[in-house]
């Protein structure tokens, strides 16, 4: 890979015990032959993938390979021109983003898209709309997971640093208790200390809540630190899958991706 790699060292391998084979879990999200694009310009040319219940799947690809397009299509912002998207068995390819969110798709977009003039608390309250739990309790829980946000509750979201906004975007999404979390390049423009914090937080609550994550990234450290399986997206199709034993090690992914 020609792009500059992230400066921090790869995280130590977590023990291989969590690397359960995909087949053992029921599929939460399954995508078959997904085509999509902007207007008449096709970007995705038949993406197929499956994410099991409770699984963390990473999608690796350079800029322009269709990573963001894939997530935006999964969330319903871009029309599906062909193919199927199933969430928990239900075909959602024609559903609106609102309906998909209500069915349990949580989305943390590229660029975070915090409501800039709303306070941090108000951003979290927006996230709570999908939760049937008490709002204050949900926010309190979320602040226990993301303690860094506590000091900023009454500040406008737009006044936070990029990393803090990323934490807020994650917290906001998790307040709605989604079944699957779609994460679009969470490391973009973020200081390394927060990248590690995000990995640790997601691993911890992922285990605790049985969260499912589909992540697109080009930061190898992050993708290796979080994913159990890594798929490679090239020119709008999933070209290869990196086996779990390699997917957890940044250096080995690099080697694997390098040996074209």
């Amino acid at each position: 890979m020609s792009r500059p790699m992230n400066a921090i060292d790869p995280l130590p391998l977590t023990s291989g015990s969590t690397a359960v084979a995909t087949a053992a879990r029921p599929a939460l999200l399954s995508v078959e032959g997904l085509h999509s694009g902007y207007g008449r310009i096709p970007i995705l040319g038949g993406v197929s993938l499956t994410v099991g219940e409770g699984e963390f799947v990473g999608i690796l690809g350079h800029n322009g390979m269709g990573k963001t397009t894939l997530l935006r299509t999964l969330m319903g912002y871009l029309p599906v021109t062909a193919g199927r998207i199933r969430l928990g068995g239900e075909d959602i390819a024609r559903r609106s983003p609102t309906a998909r969110a209500r069915l349990g798709m949580g989305f943390v977009p590229q660029g975070r898209e915090i409501f800039a003039t709303l306070s941090v608390r108000e951003n979290l309250r927006m996230g709570c709309l999908l939760s049937d739990r008490d709002e204050d309790e949900t926010i309190a829980d979320s602040l226990a997971v993301f303690p860094r946000l506590k000091a900023y509750l009454d500040r406008p979201g737009g006044a936070l640093s990029g990393g803090e906004q990323q934490l807020l975007a994650l917290a906001r999404c998790l307040c709605g208790n989604p079944r699957i979390l779609l994460l679009d390049e969470p490391t973009e423009g973020i200081q390394p200390s927060i990248i590690e914090e995000i990995i640790e937080t997601l691993q911890a609550i992922g285990r605790a809540r049985g969260l499912t994550i589909l992540l697109v990234e080009q930061n190898l450290t992050f993708i290796a630190g979080l994913s159990e399986r890594v798929l490679i997206l090239q020119k709008g199709v999933v070209t290869r899958e990196i086996p779990p034993e390699i997917a957890r090690d940044r250096a080995m992914i690099e080697e694997f991706v390098g040996m074209e």
Binding site: P97, T98, A101, F115, T117, M126, L129, L130, P156, C173
Partner: protein, 288 residues
């Protein structure tokens, strides 16, 4: 001293009138970037609702303050569902469509009720400020404007609906990812703006001639005030109304109402020249 009291009272009334005629337009423009050229006709419908209800024997307060917002709000909802919702994000098209609606409403009301000026008598008398008599009804206008402004502020700041409204206007895509249906929110916002225009029409009916083309008398001042106020609906409307209201009333007092309107226009041009984004585009940007 009496004169100062009367003048202050007139200035307050002028500000309140501007607030009333602007708020509905400001809600629709500020929240959805739709320039509602039918705003004046929404007010006209409100005024007709008041006149007709009063003529039918409905209590004058209900006819002025309750029915117009309900009726015009409902009309707004219907128009949003049948016309406006297909045009979101296309400013020119919405201007043309709302202009068409405006002409259609004028034509409709002229056909049904005729091109005559009607009136409602003011339900309250007058009182004295020293040697001068002043209309008690002006107090009704001031109170209604204050209530409308406060109500909007509380709605936006204190309620969950207000939170969703603010979030959706800022980023409808992300709001959708939180389970909000932006479509519904736009519909409600347009209905709210129409209802506020209806309220303005109902309240102003007793002090203005009610005719099919009465909207034209208000629309330009309403637009100027919205632009002068900037993106924050409540603060912007309040501040711009205050600035323009003071100038208009003071100059009208010294000269004539026509010169007063000219002064308002000149002040607006200067203000937009200095603050192209309106007052709240530069100051108090975090306000509502």
């Amino acid at each position: 001293m009496d004169l100062a009291g009367l003048l202050t009272f007139n200035v307050l009334t002028g500000i309140a009138t501007l607030v009333l005629i602007t708020l509905g337009l400001g809600v629709i423009y500020g929240m959805m970037r739709i320039i509602n050229l039918a705003h004046g006709e929404f007010m006209m419908l409100g005024a007709y609702t008041a006149v007709m209800a009063n003529g039918a024997g409905v209590n004058i307060w209900i006819a002025m303050l309750v029915l117009p917002p309900l009726v015009v709000g409902a009309v707004g909802l219907v128009l949003e569902r049948t016309v406006i919702r297909f045009l979101y994000g296309r400013m020119m098209d919405t201007m043309l469509a709302t202009w068409g609606i405006s002409l259609g409403l004028i034509g409709l009301i002229t056909t049904v009720y005729g091109n005559v000026v009607r009136g409602v008598s003011t339900p309250v008398g007058s009182f004295e400020i020293g040697r001068y008599g002043a209309s008690l009804y002006s107090l009704v206008i001031v109170a209604t404007a204050l209530a409308a402004l406060t109500g909007m502020f509380l709605l936006l700041r204190m309620t969950k609906f207000g939170l969703i409204l603010r979030a959706t206007m800022q980023n409808p895509r992300m709001a959708a990812a939180m389970g909000v249906s932006p479509d519904r929110i736009y519909m409600a916002t347009f209905g709210l703006g129409a209802a506020l225009a209806g309220l303005a029409g109902g309240v102003l009916a007793p002090i203005s001639g009610v005719s099919p083309s009465m909207g034209a008398a208000y629309i330009s001042r309403a637009f100027i005030t919205v632009l002068g106020g900037g993106p924050a609906i409540v603060t912007g409307t309040g501040l711009a109304s205050s600035v323009f209201g003071v100038i208009n009333e003071l100059v009208s007092f010294r000269t004539t109402p026509v010169i007063g309107d000219v002064a308002l226009l000149v002040a607006a041009i200067l203000l937009i020249r200095v603050l192209p984004q309106g007052i709240t585009g530069r100051y108090l940007r975090r306000s509502l």
